[in-house]
Point group: C2
Chain length 180, copies 2
């Protein structure tokens, strides 16, 4: 029996790139900066990965070079095929259930160290969460929110981050009281 094709994978970087280009065309260099700014908390990507993915997306006909600029700059634009793939992924591909979490993995094994160290570790988790919460609040205040899609959906993601951080901090405060 020959090899059966049965690969779909997540390939979410692919969709992150399509989503950014759907919003606005840009070069690899542009996308890299957009990833660093807007995406780093949700889907970090490295320069090397981005350029590789742009090449693959172009070969697959999901994006195309729309304009060229100085220094070999290639500005990509999403194609109809790319837009279709993005929408398919958004609506039809089942999201990941629960991602790996090495913070929680550590909590599982905290019995391997002294109770004081365990409390210290959890307290640090709480402080980290509090710092993130503060940073997100400052970010929210610094942005001029509008009625456009980027504002509406960007705010939903930001709000999720704030609630996540608050939940984390409250959990940590409670958890340290549970370790005798």
């Amino acid at each position: 029996m020959s090899r059966v094709e049965c690969h779909d994978g997540d390939m979410s970087l692919r969709h992150a790139v399509l989503g950014m280009l759907e919003d606005e065309p840009g070069s690899g260099y542009d996308l890299l900066k957009r990833f660093e700014q807007a995406m780093s908390n949700v889907w970090p990507a490295t320069q090397s990965q981005l350029y590789g993915e742009l090449g693959k997306l172009e070969s697959a006909g999901m994006i195309h070079v729309h304009a060229e600029g100085p220094r070999g700059r290639k500005e990509y634009e999403i194609t109809d095929a790319g837009r279709a793939e993005l929408q398919h992924w958004l609506i039809e591909v089942p999201p990941t259930a629960a991602p790996r979490n090495d913070n929680l993995l550590r909590v599982y094994f905290l019995g391997a160290v002294a109770p004081g160290q365990a409390r210290g570790y959890i307290a640090t988790m709480g402080e980290t969460a509090q710092a993130r919460e503060k940073r997100l609040e400052e970010l929210e205040a610094s942005i001029d929110w509008g009625d456009d899609n980027a504002s509406v959906y960007g705010r939903l993601v930001l709000e999720w981050g704030k609630r996540y951080s608050a939940m984390y901090r409250e959990w940590a405060d409670w958890a340290v009281t549970q370790i005798k």
Copy 2:
């Protein structure tokens, strides 16, 4: 200049295995079942990965074959070197800041589909979270909790999962009202 050694990586699977063997010795087959049951929400691992990691850990002297059984069964036990590595990781290795989240990545790009579909997607996220919350509550009720480390720290992780799911559900309820 020659290649500089600068790799540490996360290698959390390694530490998950050490943590499980610290709790109790076992074979690859045992660990696979323990990963499926207790760990699948925090750090899933495949059979192939587990056997590979056990081989590497044995070569590194962090675990050793403690007993052999029928069908080639090899029961591993953690060594002092393994215990030291586990404690080092627990306390000294900085945890990951924020993991990738493809659910939120989708939210970012929901402007690419119709508002009704966007609301539908977020509503489904909320229902999924609610189902997980319920499942965790049932799990909590079904376990006979004691005062041992596994109970104390296992309960902290479970409580985190419950709070996470509740936060998610509440966020989704709010988020659908934000999409016009």
